[in-house]
């Protein structure tokens, strides 16, 4: 707990530094939150809080506990232990009230494939008991927002994966929620579809909607999130803004060197002196350093001849590798 509080203070200090208001309006607060399925602990006592208007990310590999956390926050799954408050209410007691003000984009689209795009939106709006006319107006606005105006009468089954995903997001917005939870919004989409989706999420943020996103894509987390936590095996292993995390857990630059498959480990031993840290992956060696070009030159100076090499900026991928010793997407 103490560790978590320290982390919290750390974060608010940096927020003030970036000119954000110091008064906190916390939309989601979790204290030692747990989710157990029988003996299996999916979420193991995590602490985090999400502020109004920010994009908050959960980054981690499959099975890290992200989805279980999202399901608890969306009041779909009962809390097994600890405390959780969503929009100032407790999910186990006030599920329907919370869900009235919350939009969920689940990992599976859960769309009715046999109905049209427009009908899917319309019916979802009616689950909230919104008046018919109001829902119809919102449907047209959301079709435009989701770039689906021309597909309104199409059966959902005929849509591409990216379109279905955008429709699911539009559906989550029909009740004009204050908080939107997106569980892996872009998994399985091609790059173009992902960028279009990211753009829509930016717009939502600009409108003041609080977004909570899970992802196992580093670039997504870096692009979208104001703050994020890194989850692994049910626990939060690090928290902060993408920049803070990279500064804390990695170096400014990374030099990647590829040797033959069996030669990476041997080369890494000789490279140990050249960088702040060296990681050996099955297919390459990573040198963590503030000057990647310099490290690369030094490596060549040692007489090493990598088959390929590149210098890049550190990313959250490196943070994850450092924290868990594993790469994120296997």
């Amino acid at each position: 707990m103490q560790h978590a509080e320290a982390r919290q203070e750390d974060l608010s200090a940096s927020r003030e530094g970036r000119g954000r208001p110091a008064t906190r309006d916390e939309v989601v607060v979790a204290r030692h939150l747990e989710k157990r399925f029988g003996d299996f602990v999916a979420v193991d006592g995590i602490d985090f809080s999400v502020e109004r208007g920010e994009v908050f990310g959960f980054l981690g590999p499959n099975g890290a506990g992200k989805t279980s956390t999202m399901r608890m926050v969306s009041c779909l799954s009962p809390v097994s232990g600890g405390e959780l408050s969503v929009l100032g209410m407790e999910p186990n007691a006030h599920g329907p009230e919370i869900r009235r003000r919350l939009g969920l984009v689940p990992q599976d689209d859960t769309l009715d494939l046999e109905l049209s795009v427009r009908d899917n939106l319309y019916l979802y709006g009616r689950y909230f008991d919104l008046p018919r006319r109001e829902v119809r107006q919102r449907v047209e606005r959301l079709l435009e927002f989701a770039h689906l105006s021309e597909k309104g009468d199409e059966e959902v089954d005929n849509l591409s994966g990216g379109m279905k995903r955008r429709l699911t997001i539009a559906r989550a917005l029909i009740s004009e929620p204050e908080l939107v939870i997106l569980d892996e919004p872009t998994t399985g989409l091609d790059p173009q579809a992902r960028h279009l989706l990211w753009d829509r999420l930016y717009r939502l943020k600009q409108e003041g909607v609080t977004l909570v996103i899970t992802t196992h894509y580093m670039d997504e987390a870096e692009q979208l999130c104001d703050r994020l936590v890194v989850m692994d095996k049910g626990k939060i292993v690090a928290a902060g803004s993408p920049r803070q995390l990279i500064d804390t857990y990695s170096t400014r630059e990374v030099a990647e060197l590829r040797f033959g498959v069996d030669e990476n480990a041997a080369a890494a031993e000789r490279l140990a002196e050249l960088a702040a840290r060296v990681e050996v992956l099955p297919d390459r060696v990573l040198l963590y350093t503030d000057d990647g070009d310099e490290a690369l030159r030094a490596a060549l100076g040692l007489g090493l001849r990598p088959e390929a090499s590149l210098v890049r900026r550190s990313s959250l991928e490196d943070v994850f590798l450092r924290l868990t010793g594993r790469s994120l997407v296997d």
């Binding site: 859960t110 769309l111 009715d112 689950y127 909230f128 009740s175 929620p177 409108e207």
Partner: protein, 273 residues
């Protein structure tokens, strides 16, 4: 945002209405087919049974049994009110098998519903309310066809639609509860073959259960279909005994209530994890 907050459920906007609207909307896609079969099905049965089997049965009864084991009515008049309720059982059962599995697993539309203010109990009530509507509509058509053929001698027969709805619910609840415990649809055809079909044949629809061996009569009396058939027949033929009618109706109400309760339990166990 949130200029127009979604209202809370109330007496005028009960929670079950939300999923109900969805089921009703979906039905718009298939209603023509179901209406056609609701009319065609009784006509086909009445023709086959009336012109074919019924003729044989009637002449046989006339020869061997002047008082009439069927209560002194022709075979078709005996059969028709039973067939109405037996069909209601099938409609109720069907609506709670594949559509429920679809909502839980294939289309996952139940999961979408539960991400909104809809609660599991609203979902179950909405489903059952929808089944009641479907069975009610189909039974009303069925009864109208029977009336046209002159097989509804008593005005009390109108109430047989209610009996059909109750019977449909007495099956829809337990079957939905069962479906929600299943990982896939493998057991559903088995349930149909070993549950629905024997009940259809042995619950007094086609012949009085007095024809059955003693122990099977006991089994038949324990099932909801027997009570539905007996009550429907009494109403349609205008031979109602109040205590018997009350007993039949109570049984059906109890079964429907128990089924709804069980469905709420198994749906919760399946969906709230």
């Amino acid at each position: 945002m949130g200029a127009l907050a979604a209202p809370r459920p109330s007496l005028l906007r009960p929670g079950w209405l939300r999923p109900y609207r969805y089921f009703a909307f979906r039905y718009k896609r298939t209603w023509r087919g179901t209406v056609t079969s609701s009319i065609l099905y009784p006509i086909l049965y009445l023709l086959a049974m009336g012109l074919g089997l019924g003729h044989l049965v009637n002449s046989h009864l006339h020869a061997v049994d002047q008082t009439g084991r069927l209560g002194g009515v022709g075979y078709v008049q005996f059969l028709a009110p039973g067939l109405l309720v037996a069909s209601a059982m099938q409609w109720g059962t069907n609506e709670s098998m594949y559509p429920v599995m679809g909502g839980l697993k294939w289309l996952k539309t139940y999961h979408a519903l539960l991400a909104t203010p809809v609660r599991v109990r609203d979902l179950v009530s909405g489903h059952l309310a929808w089944v009641a509507t479907r069975v009610g509509g189909a039974s009303a058509l069925f009864l109208a066809v029977l009336a046209v053929f002159g097989d509804v001698p008593s005005p009390l027969g109108v109430l047989a639609v209610l009996v059909a709805v109750l019977t449909g619910l007495a099956f829809a609840g337990p079957v939905a509860a069962f479906t929600a415990t299943q990982e896939n649809d493998a057991a559903l055809p088995v349930l149909y073959r070993l549950g629905t079909v024997p009940l259809f044949l042995f619950s007094g629809t086609f012949f009085p259960i007095a024809q059955l061996p003693g122990w099977l009569q006991v089994v038949a009396r324990a099932t909801p279909l027997y009570h539905g058939v007996a009550l429907s027949r009494a109403l349609v033929l205008g031979r109602v005994s109040a205590p018997a009618a009350l007993a039949h109706a109570s049984y059906l109400v109890a079964m429907a209530t128990l089924g709804a309760w069980a469905a709420r339990r198994t749906f919760t166990r399946r969906l709230v994890v």
